[in-house]
Symmetry: C2
Amino acid sequence: MNKLAENLKANKLKVTPQRLAIYSYLANTNEHPTVETIYNSLKDDYPAMSLATVYKTVASLRDSHLIKEFNLGEDSNRYDAHMENHCHLLCTKCHRVFDYYGDIDLKHVMYELKSTFGFDTESFDMNFYGICEECSREQS
Amino acid sequence: MNKLAENLKANKLKVTPQRLAIYSYLANTNEHPTVETIYNSLKDDYPAMSLATVYKTVASLRDSHLIKEFNLGEDSNRYDAHMENHCHLLCTKCHRVFDYYGDIDLKHVMYELKSTFGFDTESFDMNFYGICEECSREQS
DNA sequence: CTCACTGCAAAGTGTTTGCAACGTT
DNA sequence: AACGTTGCAAACACTTTGCAGTGAG
């Protein structure tokens, strides 16, 4: 688990207990939690920790590119420490988010964006909205 | 321009001047405006119109699937009355949003999502982040 | 005439900020 | 010891709501 502390130091972020807790919580879940969720999950272990700290921490981590911040049309942002390129599947019933790590080749699209619009793509994201297996089973 | 009024009626939405103004403003721009922008653009013609009306109106239009609401990691939502599937190019310098209507074939990806995860895709969106032509010209 | 819509102000929600105390380096 | 970080409360920005009055159907 020292890897995480190393990552923080490499980005000149001090390794405080709260920060490490938030970062490792994110690194060990695939639930794409919101700030609220992170806060609630950690408050048993860190009763004094404030919501503002969670907000400040995810902002630092995001600015150092240690986590990703994203929004799927919901009220609050979600966070993810899994930095490999992947896209998200949002179940419109249960609102859980699943990951898809399969690679989708968009090099030709990016090339077309460049040649047609002069647009230089730095990154992209792709979100699929639909019904997850579990919810579609319940539905019937 | 009667088409728009027809669309409203077809969705049991009353054709009020404000509603028509907002809807046709959206139908005739490709700027993906925010509520604030819509409000400011129309307040010369509709000085009495309130911000709340714009919010309520875009919510109705969105619920009737006459416009799309989306968020590109900014503070406020953007709206778009162009309902054909297309993806967005967000310039990280000037924050303008461009459209790309070229079709990207994801049928095989959606098929894989179904067979691997049991996930039934209803819709998807794709956003490219980068530098637009104009901004990259200024940069040099 | 009815009921959906408007406009205003007030409330709500997620997020950010100011600042004194604290703790990592 | 210095300076980044924390925690609290207050401020903020965007959005929603309650309600009386209005106007489209």
